[in-house]
C-alpha cells in the first residue's frame, strides 16, 4: 500500500537510493548517541546523580539529646535542662529594612548599630544574634519574620535551688557542658549524645519515611545525688547567718550520713546564683569545703588521743601533767588558755588542752602517730571525686622534729579540707569504721575500713560528749532532746607561711550519741567580731543544723528535752 506513490508517482520515481542510507545512518548515530548518554548517566555518572536525586527528598536530620537531670535523694530536681531558642542570622541571606532592624534590636535588647554590623557581616555564614531567649521574646522575633534570621533550639540548664547548692552542683557552659562541681564530675554520664537520622521528606517538608538512623542519639542519664535539699537549706541558712553575725569572710558546713558516708548537705557561704553566673569571680565559685585547705587546730586532738589509747600508751583516765599551761619543746613554748596542773586524758579533750595533747603525742613514735592520722583519712582523697578536691598534707614522719610532732597533735603543721575532717569523724560515729565519702545516693551502705577498736571509739565518744557539757569548750553545741558530741577547733590562719591574727573557727561533731546518724562539720573563715573561738562561732551553727536536721529525719530523741544545761557566762576557751 504505497499511498505516497499512488498520490504522486513522479515524486517516488525521483527519490534517489542514497537518501534511505543517509536516513538510516542518522538514525543509527542518534541511537548510538542515546545509548551512549544512557550508559553515561546510568553507569559512569550514576553515583553523583543518585546523590543529587536523593538530595531532593532525602535529608539527614539531627536528633538532639538533652542533658540528664540532677536530683536530690528524694527526687527533687536540682539541675534541669530545658530547651530555649537562640536567634541566629545568615548574613548573605538577610533582607531587612531599617525599621525591621530597629524593631529586632528592641526585642533582643541590643544596640541597633551592633546588630546591624552583625547582620551584614558577609564574611560569615552564621552569626549568633542572641542566645537563649525567653519564650515571649522568641514569639516576637518569629512575628517579625525577617528573611535570613532564624531560630536554633538549644538547651539551657536551670538550678531551682539557686545559690544554696551553687558551689556543690557547679554549672554548665553555653554548650551545656559541665564546667564546675558535680556538673563537671558527672559530665560523662549527664551529657547526651546527639544522633543523626536519614529521612525522606515530601514537598511540604513532612517527614514521610525513616530511611535509617546513622548515629542513634543517646539522652544523658538522670543522676540522683546524695544531697537532701531540706538539710542543705538548713545548713546554708545557718552558715549564712553565722557568717553575717560574726562578720566572717566565708563559711562552710558539711553534713554526712554517719552510717553510709553520703553527703547530705554541702553548703558554702557566700554563694552565687548559678542561673546567672556571667561574671562571678572564681573565688566565689570554689567549693571551700572541698577545695580549700586549712590547719584544723584542735579538731585533730581526738585522733591523737585515739591513736594513743589504741596503742595502749594511755587510758581515758590516765593523768597528764599539763605543767600549769606552759610546756617547752625544742625551745618553743606550747600554751594553754587554762593553767591546769593535771588533767585526765578525757579532760584534755574536754578542755582542749594543747599541752596535754602534745604530751600524749610525744609518748608515741612518730611513725605510729602518722599511721593513726593517715588511717583516719588525712593526707588522702575522700573518694568524693569532686573536681579540684585538695587532699591535704601529712608530712613524712621521718622528717618530724619533736616540736612538729607536738604541734601536729593539736592540728598545726597539717592541712585538711572540711570534707576530709567530717569524714574522719565517721570513725567515732561508726564504731571505728572510716567510711568513703559519696556524693551520689547509695543503695546499700559501703563497708569502710576499721581504724580504731570499739573500745577506743567508745572512750572518745564519751570524751567528746563532755566537750559540749559545761566545763567543756562547746556548751553552745548542745541540742535539746538529743545527745551530741564533738570537738571545737580554733586555728590561726597562715598567710605567706606566717601565722596571723586571723582565725578559722570550726566544730565537728555527731548526733545522736546513742546511735549516731549525722556527722556535721562547720568551718567559719575569719570571724572578725569579738568572738572567734570555735566554741562560740561554729558550735551554735552545729547545734542549729543538727537539731533541725534530726527533726527533719524523724530521729527519735535520745535525751530528755530539758537536757540543755545553760553554759556559765564564761565558756572554756581553748588556746590557739
Amino acid at each position: 500500500m504505497n499511498y505516497a506513490a499512488s498520490a504522486n508517482p513522479e515524486f517516488t520515481a525521483k527519490l534517489p537510493g542514497w537518501r534511505a542510507t543517509v536516513l538510516f545512518g542518522m538514525l543509527l548515530i542518534g541511537m548510538t548517541g542515546l545509548f551512549g548518554r544512557g550508559v553515561y548517566l546510568q553507569g559512569i555518572n550514576h553515583d553523583f546523580l543518585q546523590k543529587k536525586g536523593d538530595a531532593r527528598y532525602s535529608r539527614v536530620i539531627e536528633v538532639s539529646a538533652h542533658r540528664g537531670m540532677l536530683s536530690d535523694r528524694n527526687g527533687e530536681p536540682l539541675a534541669v535542662s530545658t530547651p530555649v531558642e537562640s536567634v541566629w542570622a545568615s548574613p548573605p541571606d538577610v533582607e531587612a529594612d531599617r525599621r525591621q532592624i530597629k524593631k529586632l534590636a528592641q526585642i533582643l535588647g541590643m544596640d541597633t548599630e551592633e546588630l546591624k554590623s552583625r547582620l551584614f557581616d558577609t564574611s560569615r555564614d552564621f552569626v549568633y544574634l542572641k542566645r537563649q531567649l525567653p519564650p515571649d521574646q522568641v514569639e516576637k522575633v518569629v512575628g517579625l519574620n525577617v528573611p535570613g534570621v532564624s531560630l536554633l533550639r538549644e538547651y539551657r540548664r536551670y538550678y531551682p535551688s539557686g545559690e544554696e547548692t551553687a558551689q556543690t552542683l557547679g554549672f554548665t557552659g553555653q554548650d551545656d557542658n559541665g564546667q564546675e562541681g558535680m556538673e563537671l564530675a558527672l559530665q560523662e554520664f549527664l551529657a547526651g549524645k546527639p544522633g543523626s537520622q536519614r529521612v525522606i521528606k515530601d514537598n511540604r517538608g513532612f517527614i514521610v519515611e525513616d530511611a535509617g538512623s546513622l548515629h542513634p542519639s543517646k539522652p544523658g542519664s538522670d543522676i540522683v545525688l546524695s544531697l537532701d535539699l531540706n538539710i542543705q537549706h538548713l545548713a546554708y541558712r545557718e552558715v549564712e547567718s553565722a557568717v553575717r553575725q560574726h562578720h566572717a569572710k566565708a563559711g562552710a558546713v558539711v553534713v554526712l550520713d554517719a552510717h553510709t558516708g553520703e553527703v547530705l548537705a554541702l553548703a558554702n557561704y557566700p554563694g552565687y546564683n548559678p542561673n546567672n553566673h556571667g561574671n562571678i569571680s572564681s573565688k566565689l565559685m570554689r567549693n571551700r569545703a572541698i577545695a580549700d585547705l586549712f590547719e584544723p587546730g584542735s579538731t585533730m586532738k581526738p585522733f591523737t588521743v585515739a591513736t594513743a589509747i589504741e596503742t595502749g600508751k594511755v587510758g581515758p583516765n590516765t593523768l597528764i601533767n599539763t605543767e600549769h599551761g606552759v610546756f617547752t619543746v625544742n625551745n618553743r613554748k606550747i600554751h594553754d588558755a587554762h593553767p591546769d596542773a593535771i588533767l585526765t586524758v578525757g579532760q584534755v579533750i574536754q578542755k582542749s588542752s594543747n599541752v596535754g595533747a602534745a604530751k600524749i603525742a610525744l609518748l608515741l613514735k612518730s611513725q605510729t602517730l602518722w599511721q593513726g592520722l593517715s588511717d583516719s583519712g588525712f593526707g588522702s582523697q575522700t573518694g568524693s571525686n569532686f573536681p579540684g578536691e585538695a587532699s591535704g598534707k601529712l608530712r613524712d614522719p621521718k622528717t618530724w622534729r619533736p616540736i612538729e610532732q607536738a604541734t601536729m597533735a593539736y592540728g598545726h603543721g597539717i592541712s585538711v579540707n572540711l570534707l576530709q575532717l567530717a569524714r574522719a569523724y565517721t570513725i567515732f560515729a561508726n564504731d571505728g569504721e572510716l567510711k568513703p565519702i559519696s556524693l551520689l545516693k547509695l543503695n546499700a551502705p559501703v563497708t569502710g575500713k576499721k581504724v580504731f577498736s570499739d573500745h577506743t571509739v567508745r572512750a572518745l565518744r564519751n570524751m567528746m560528749e563532755m566537750v559540749v557539757l559545761p566545763g567543756g569548750t562547746a556548751p553552745l553545741a548542745q541540742v535539746a532532746g538529743y545527745r551530741v558530741a564533738g570537738k571545737t577547733g580554733t586555728a590561726h590562719k597562715l598567710e605567706d607561711g606566717h601565722y596571723v591574727n586571723h582565725y578559722i573557727a570550726s566544730f565537728v561533731g555527731f548526733a545522736p550519741v546513742s546511735d549516731p546518724r549525722l556527722v556535721v562539720a562547720v568551718m567559719i573563715d575569719d570571724p572578725s567580731g569579738d568572738e572567734y573561738y570555735g566554741g562560740e562561732v561554729a558550735a551554735p551553727v552545729f547545734s542549729k543544723v543538727v537539731g533541725a536536721a534530726l527533726h527533719q529525719l524523724n530521729v527519735p530523741n535520745d535525751a530528755p528535752l530539758n537536757n540543755v544545761i545553760a553554759p556559765p557566762a564564761e565558756i572554756v576557751r581553748e588556746e590557739v
Binding site: I207, E209, D210, H551
Partner: protein, 114 residues
Amino acid sequence: MKGSFLGLCNFVLGKVEGFSRAHTLLLLVAVVLCALSVVTSQHKARKLFIELQKEKEFAQQMEVEWGQLRLEQSTWATPARVEMIAGKQLQMQLPKNGQVQFIRANPEGATQQQ
C-alpha cells in the same frame, strides 16, 4: 497492543511446560494487583509514619513541658521560699521542744521509719 504484550509474555513463559494462555493471564493479573498493593501500602505506611512522627513530636513537646513544670514547681517550692511564707505570711512556727511526741509502735518499726 495487548496482543503484542501477551505475545511477549508467551515468548518468556511459553517455553515452560504446561502454561496455557489462561495461566499466563492469571499471573499477569496477580502481578498487577501486587504492584498496586505495594503502592497503596507504601502510601499507607507513609501516612502512618507522618502520624507517628507527629505523635513523637507531641510527646517530646509534652516532655519538655513536663520538665518546665517540674522546674517551676521546684522553684516555687524551694525550702527557703516555703519557710519565708510560712513564717512571715502565715505566722507559722516550728513546734517547740516538748510539743513534739515521738511515737514508737515497736522498736523495729521505729528504726525502720527513720
